[in-house]
Amino acid sequence: MAYPSDRKYTKQHEWIQVSGTTGSVGITDHAQEELGDIVFVELPKVGSEVTAGKTFGSVESVKAVSDLYSPASGTVTETNGTLATSPETVNKDPHGSWMMKITLKNSAELDALLSSADYEKFVAEEGGH
């Protein structure tokens, strides 16, 4: 699976696509595949602060709850309402399903994230099985 090069990735399998000072955040295809059918997405309130590397919400499959980690720090400006009624869209289109948009506090944080090539390599190494 080719990971889009128009964004950066975390080792916790989130992606962030930046436009100006706004970052759109979602989870990768690898993440949705590991999770299985997603039945619930819990997102932060608009206006709340998120911190790079800290949890901003959670995603649930039938069997388990998984935390979501923010790739960058900032203020939440929008959350994707369709995920409340149709959480399965994350499985169908993980790279097209943004979960939250944030106004970046510090763009320099993005430098610490993985490029699509590095993320692809990371997933392949982590895979092993």
Binding site: G36, D37, V39, F40, E60, V62, K63, V65
Partner: protein, 363 residues
Amino acid sequence: MGAKMVDFNGWDMPVEYPASIGGGVINEHMAVRTGVGIFDVSHMGDIRLAGPEALAAVQHISMNDASRLAVGQAQYSALLYPQGTFVDDVIVHRLGEDQYLLVINAGTREKDFNWVRDNTRNFDCAVENLSDDFTQIAIQGPKGVDVLQKLTDADLSTVKFYWVTRGSVCGLKNILIARTGYTAEDGFEIYIPADEAASARVWNEVLSAGKEFAIVPCGLGARNTLRLEGKLPLYGHEISDTINVWEAGLDRFCKMEKPDFIGRAALEKAKAEGVKRTLVGLEMTERGIARDGYKVLNSDSDGREIGYVTSGSPAPFLKKNIALAYGPPAFAAVGTPVKVEIRGQGVGAQVVPTPFYKRPKKA
């Protein structure tokens, strides 16, 4: 087959199969409810009691009344400790005049066998642990009978639910075929000799025979959501060595009119004292999924803890988030509002009738 595997009580088992072959917990669950699914349940244990006093032995350790079983008939029951709490739940099958097969949980195989052997020493009957001798395959769903009929010479139309028969299956002779299961659907469980090659062949033949019915291989994930919708207990959750028969609501499988069985005296006493907690069904009324171990709270402003969730999950067929929970009898009335604590927040739920799902009666 590319399934996501997990360790289950020492067994390497599939949680769910790949979407590319029709798998995924939700797909597998729906296949069993509307068509047919196949499960490898060889992890379950098998104990055979045979001999002149086999019935008396079973009656001593099992709470249901095995004397009601005709040859070829099965019943749900449980083995109890003297305190009236659960060693394990079990399906008792009467295979012959003096022959009974107990099918027990995987996680309690050794404990159960030791318990059965130790508590039947005074009865003239042989107790054998046959758990490793059998591969057990479950074919579950409304189309299960159609699939299995293609592979056996036994006339399945004569086998009622919770009855067994023997016949050739995939060319293997004298195979035990039971119309039982853990999915709250019609279906069969077949017990074939634990020969790896033969077992794999049978598995593949069932998949082939089931192709026209869109058969799906099913893992533990769907096994759990299916049994939860049907309010079938899971050891360690709804039943355990600290929970008694009345609390678990399994009264109808406990025949107190039997002269004696292990646990009877304690249950008599417990009945007189009244239950302090009871198992209820919950349905989430606000957004959230109640899961095993989550606290159940009073829905009043004090939000005090009143119980806990034994099993909770999304219900794929019902499209609701459901749970079984222990709580005080005062909160057990259908419609009672409660809250479930999910990541620190009380989320609204209400008590609903159980089972959550009952399979439709055939016309």
